[in-house]
């Protein structure tokens, strides 16, 4: 399988560990169901990044599933968390949103879906560790502007729509500052109950 995905690795790293480009995400160890949903979304143009939309256009779904499983099974170490230049209050705002949310603005804690250790849950919820701040901001922005959509109900769109620019900067910085957990594997399906329904998690 490694030879079949050599078209992907200059951008995503040999084992899907990511590369020095801050907008190119890590793939390794994310739930296979999540990765597969993303590949389908790129293939059908629901998620837009033209170089990937083009590569996947004529690949069969079962083959995309295999690619997803391949990268889900890789376990390269998480990168060391980069030094951050954001201020202490911003970091605290990020921590609050990730761990407690903001009930007044109906923002659930990120951890209520992405898991208490932020390692995600099978089959459709990705972990949030090992992602760089630029990538996280870009993705939250893409949901707000409608260039990234997930299967309906698109719960992540509902969350992103309630965040301000400042919230986005804060959560992106806080997430990137978290040390790697000893066990980075996503939780079992049904390990905890989501605050509201997500289409990505339905099957």
């Amino acid at each position: 399988m490694a030879a079949r995905v050599e078209a992907c690795t200059p951008c995503h790293g040999k084992d899907g560990e990511g590369t020095s480009d801050v907008y190119f995400p890590r793939l390794a160890g994310k739930p296979a169901g999540y990765l597969y949903n993303q590949l389908l979304a790129f293939k059908n143009g629901r998620r837009k990044y033209p170089p990937m939309n083009y590569l996947l256009e004529y690949l069969a779904d079962p083959y995309l599933q295999e690619m997803a499983e391949h990268f889900a099974e890789q376990r390269p170490p998480l990168p060391a968390s980069p030094a951050s230049d954001v201020s202490q209050p911003v970091m605290q705002q990020g921590q609050a949103l990730v761990t407690r949310g903001d009930p007044a603005r109906q923002i659930p804690a990120c951890g209520s879906c992405h898991g208490p250790n932020l390692t995600g849950m099978e089959p459709g919820i990705p972990g949030l560790l090992g992602l760089r701040p630029n990538y996280v901001s870009a993705q939250l922005g893409a949901w707000r502007y409608g260039t990234r959509t997930a299967k309906a109900p698109d719960c992540m769109q509902q969350v992103a729509a309630r965040l301000t620019e400042a919230d986005v900067t804060a959560v992106a910085a806080y997430l990137a500052s978290r040390p790697a957990p000893i066990n980075n594997a996503p939780g079992q399906k049904g390990a905890y109950v989501l605050p509201f329904a997500c289409g990505s998690q339905s099957d």
């Binding site: 030879a3 079949r4 078209a7 200059p10 951008c11 590569l55 256009e57 004529y58 690949l59």
Partner: protein
């Protein structure tokens, strides 16, 4: 999808037989069979590619087709009575396919390849119609075309028709075999290969005498090589097996498909029967011109081009040789050979440059469901390095193409990817 050989036999008969035999055949063809045959023919015509929007319902139209004159939107051809072709008769449908006119006589834009479909027999047109009548109706209104003045005036199509459209069903050539005629019927008719593989003039038309002589597809910036010149994609010195492999699986010992041709194999050609694919191969091999024009002379001064080519070799050895081999021999069928590969040597270097910039996967097909891919190098190589490596592969190992300039690589960076 396989069509029973008996039906195929019938199709062949209908192609070569007199009109009365057509009528008899229609009467004897039970409802289910005509629908199945129509489904197969719709595949051969690749109707689904244009008439289905991304993630849209099959045949409900609405796909945007950018042209130099504005954007066209394909029509809903499901049997919905209000928004599709539910009220059409088989005669109406034949007039569209054969004459490029709506039932009320209105002119159809040639983006609908009626200039090729005019060759389709009445019996085959009726079968496609029967199939389209059998699919689920979708209520979806056609989107207005978004064409600039004066192209939004359909009367202009008359001029195009006078120049480029000659109406008429395919006339079998009695001096050739039934197999050759079947291949010609599919390639010139339903396959509408000439729509891309012909020089595109300012009017967006292709003229008969230039049919299959190759052209740059407007708006997409891919070059569809000539199918008649052995210096381009003429298949004169390919074996029948390699042609069949290419059309049916997307990969072969001689080359691979990519870009718009990957779409054609993915949505259409892979579904054709072995007999039909072989017939197309026999015909394609026969139309390649034995004598070909002399190679293009280099546009670069020798000193400049030799520098470029030595940089190209460095890039090649570091970035490409692992898949395409130190001598450009490849590991066919999955990693195509670059040595002695016409599609790299031909005068237009557009495709080679774009492959280096964008990479690609051949399509998943039944014969090659898990293709190997090539990474995009747009982010890894400078314009100069792209020009260098393309110049190198076009001239190394006995290849006889001409070097290319960094400016050409730069211009193609902005080519649309979808």
């Amino acid at each position: 999808m396989r069509v029973p050989s008996r039906i195929l036999g019938l199709a062949l008969l209908s192609l070569l037989a007199a009109p009365t035999a057509d009528a008899q055949q229609q009467k004897s063809e039970a409802g289910g069979e005509i629908v199945k045959r129509g489904e197969y023919l719709a595949r051969a015509g690749d109707c689904i590619a244009c008439h289905t929007a991304p993630e849209g319902r099959a045949f409900a139209g609405g796909r945007a087709m950018p042209t130099p004159f504005g954007t066209l939107f394909s029509s809903n051809i499901t049997p919905d009575r209000d928004t599709g072709i539910g009220k059409w008769s088989a005669d109406d449908f034949y007039i569209t396919m054969h004459r490029g006119r709506f039932p009320d006589g209105g002119l159809i834009y040639p983006a609908m390849p009626f200039a090729s479909y005019t060759k389709v027999t009445r019996a085959d047109s009726d079968a496609i119609f029967a199939y389209l009548k059998s699919i689920p109706p979708v209520n979806q209104k056609n989107r207005e075309h978004d064409l600039r003045f004066p192209y939004n005036n359909r009367q202009l199509i008359l001029g195009w028709r006078t120049l480029y459209f000659s109406e008429g069903e395919y006339k079998p050539d009695p001096s050739k075999s039934a197999e050759w005629n079947r291949g010609a019927y599919l390639v010139e008719g339903l396959g509408h290969c000439g729509m891309c593989h012909s020089p595109i003039n300012a009017l967006g038309g292709t003229s008969q005498s230039d049919a299959f002589k190759g052209g740059l597809i407007p708006m997409q910036n891919w070059y569809a090589p000539s199918l008649t010149s052995n210096r381009e994609a003429g298949l004169g010195d390919w074996s029948i097996k390699d042609i069949v492999d290419l059309l049916k699986t997307g990969v072969s010992a001689r080359g691979v498909v990519y870009g718009p041709m990957a779409e054609v194999v993915h949505n259409s050609l892979q579904y054709l029967t072995d007999e039909d694919t072989k017939a197309m191969a026999v015909y394609l091999k026969s139309i390649a011109e034995p004598a070909s024009p002399p190679p293009a002379a280099t546009k670069l001064p020798t000193s400049e081009s030799s520098l470029l080519i030595s940089l190209g070799k460095t890039v090649y050895d570091a970035r490409c040789a692992s898949c395409h081999g130190a001598q450009g021999e490849g590991k066919p069928p999955h990693w195509p050979p670059l040595a002695n590969n016409q599609s790299i040597e031909m005068e237009s270097a557009v495709n080679a440059i774009r492959m280096v910039l964008n990479g690609g996967y051949p399509p998943s097909t039944e014969g090659n469901p898990r293709p190997y891919g090539m990474p995009p190098f747009a982010g890894l190589l400078s314009d100069n390095e792209v020009a260098a490596v393309v110049s190198y592969i076009r001239t190394a190992w006995g290849n006889r193409g001409a070097p290319v300039r960094a400016r050409e690589a730069n211009e193609l960076r902005s080519a649309p990817l979808n």
